[in-house]
Amino acid sequence: MPTPSLFDIMGPIMIGPSSSHTAGAARLGKMAYKLAGGDIKDVKMYLHGSFAATYRGHGTDKALLAGLLNLNPSDERLRHSFELAAKKGIHYEFIPTNLGENVHPNTVKFVITNSAGETHEITGSSIGGGQVVISDIDGMEVNFTGERPILVTHHKDEPGVISNITFILYEMGINIGNMRVSRSREDHTAHMYIEMDSLTGGDLTAAIRNIPGMLWVKLLLPIDETSGDASRKDSI
């Protein structure tokens, strides 16, 4: 493999005991929190493989929930996440299960109901060293590591909407690294997920919100955990 960075070897600063079962789990929770769009009322976590077998001893359950409370993998409140969630009136449940043959051993499927009453299903895996990948959002296969900004749109399924979005990205000098569209035939709408190399200065969401046919738009930023005591490897 290519030479890893110094910070791939030393760090991250994290809450133990396991980079994949604890730090990675917290990161998955945090990404799910961002993707589910805000305050969580109820969450069911389906744990697969090694997550299912060892989640109590590794604190995977506490870490997942801490992430859903928007805590970082290096936050010492992580081990008290059950109490924190209870205080916020969040209902949570951990369900060991089998998500299938070819599923990564450290995988969790979140079924989240937010305060707006929306339900989202998000599946992700902790692939080692605290690194994670989100593989499914509301039934759409994706491959997001959370290391780059992601734009999520929900829009009318009609010609021109996507080209308007990509045109705005072009005008702002933003390069697309990965994108996916999925449509719902029932209500003639579509969701689109775009992973961008980086952002530039302008107000991207405001510009995209103004596109005719746009229902809503979300921007998920790589979370900067480099301030304080966390290292770069800790950022989502």
Partner: protein, 287 residues
Amino acid sequence: MNAQTVIKICQEKGISLSDFALSQESEQDNISKTEILTRFGQMLSVMETAARTARETPIHSVSGLTGGDAYLYEQRRKKRSLLGSTASKAVACALSCSEVNASMGRIVACPTAGSCGIVPAAVLSVQEEYDLPREAIVKGLICAGLVGQIIGEHACLAGAQGGCQAECGSASAMAAAAVVELLGGSPAQSFDAAAIAIKNSLGLVCDPVAGLVEIPCIKRNAGGVMNALTAADMALAGIVSRIPFDDTVDAMNRVGRQLPTALRETAAGGLATTKTGLELAETLKNR
């Protein structure tokens, strides 16, 4: 990148391994040396706390399987120890970091969470004994990182891939090189120490009881730092590793591949499947 090349560059330029690593990271990742040093300083602070916490108060793991050993050891070593002050402090610090990790406390993965006690224990015990400034210790951590970079490139650092030799073995090599640099040894001597440390942990299996980062991980961190200090002490005396560092990494890589899956973090072999290991795992399941 390999050690042979790095040693040559350092000799030509008259720089230390940490100077080399600092410049390389700064150039390749477009980040200032000051920022790299700041971030390593933050890591050092976390290490200092983790290396102290479980010595001062007995702390227990989330599973309840382990805990209290760093405290127990600290109490005795203050009165007497077979190892002398530096080495016994190193053992105590390694136990403390690992117990903090198992209790869901804050640590620095270096290179992994399971092996998080070895590098801090080595540099902090040497710092105390030789009264070294904090800046020197930060540079020592960077030197340790460089050794890990080379291992990561040519072998691996994950127990699931290469067994415990890849985690505690790598950490020992990283710590050994750092200690040699801290005490004024040459880059070549640092890599001799790292090579000796790898040779002494070659083939070490990853066999955690119940799949948790506790048994035998915590005590292997104590063993790992002793390996590191022994290797550094030999290298500082001028002892050379007949098998150079790059070759030992190659051996570690091949040995890791030859290890059966049962001995690579699956809890399907070794200590995990002993009578007691299985009983402990069963107790946890029924709780």
